[in-house]
Symmetry: C2
Subunit: 201 residues, 2 copies
């Protein structure tokens, strides 16, 4: 019974390749496509093709864009001496929502992870080095997630940049605003203590 609709199975397999989509969800999504009107399904298929065709990496910061440069690199009012280094394009969107940040970005498209076979050569570190080498960059704010891979990547970049005289900083760790101390994990609490600041700051 399970193999009877090859085209549905095949579609479910395609959905299964997407991030965070398991076997059951993939099947549900495939059924959902079959329930769509022909127009909607065609529009969906076209949207995939068009997005994949048009979207490429910004040659300056490696962020995703469908124009020549990404909107941040196009914007003359941004401060090109400060570069926020992030793991992926979604992190750029998250940072941009804050509206506080006026520097530019560099998207690594991954994090160093020897366990998963990801070396510095597999992510956009060479591009970062070239960019810093051009002399305009004064500070790199490494905004990778506080995970093992995020930390390892931050450390690697920091060591790489040392001889170049570029300041490398890391986003502050601490208790999330509005959170309860009671529920903070020990590592976060420990980092929050280490990073404590004077109230008159």
């Amino acid at each position: 019974m399970a193999e009877y609709m090859e085209s549905l199975q095949h579609l479910a397999e395609q959905f299964g390749k997407l991030e965070g989509v398991g076997r059951k969800t993939a099947m549900r999504l495939a059924y959902s496509v079959v329930d769509m009107s022909v127009e909607d399904a065609t529009a969906f298929a076209d949207a995939i093709r068009v997005a994949k065709e048009r979207i490429h990496l910004c040659p300056v910061c490696q962020n995703l864009t469908d124009r020549e440069l990404c909107p941040v690199c196009r914007d003359d009012s941004r401060d090109r001496s400060t570069v926020c280094v992030v793991a992926d394009a979604k992190a750029v969107l998250a940072m941009e929502k804050v509206r506080e940040y006026r520097g530019v970005y560099h998207v690594l498209h991954g994090l160093i992870s020897p366990m998963n076979g990801v070396t510095p050569d597999n992510i956009k570190i060479r591009e970062l080095l070239t960019r810093v080498g051009e002399g305009e960059v004064e500070e790199l704010i490494v905004a990778t997630n506080p995970t093992i891979e995020g930390e390892a990547t931050a450390m690697y970049i920091s060591r790489l940049m040392k001889p170049l005289g570029v300041k490398v900083t890391r986003l502050a760790y601490g208790i999330p605003v509005g959170a309860d101390l009671e529920y903070a994990d020990e590592v976060t609490l420990c980092r929050a203590l280490e990073g404590r600041r004077s109230v008159e700051d």
Copy 2:
């Protein structure tokens, strides 16, 4: 910033039309497509088109199929006098997993829901009536979910079939196997009591 990649936004909107996909998930899935290789993205778009083109309703039971008849209706060993009535094609898969059931199916493609404007005319009830009218059917097992809509649909079918002399049954309600009485809701417990059977059964 948010509107900068029209093609990505458009793709996310298409994902958002799928069942159970919210705005954030849709965006994550769209990014996931951009991260795919060109070959994978093309295969994905093609799979949508092919599935939509090939899959249609079985003219007998209204289940989804990519052949002339669905596999159950094609199978000569199935008992055509017993028809299990389900809301959608996914329910057929769930029932088939049991391997106990040797009858055939009828897929309604929805449940009666006046609140959402779904009347008996919007689901495959007319096809069920035609099928029963052909005289081979002796029992309809209504296996819609035990929700308000599922109950209303079961009730409607039961009343519709009464004059035709067809036996209409409903799946048994009760405590799920392996579940703890303590966590069963009152309605289920009440139904389980009503449906109690002699141990010597």
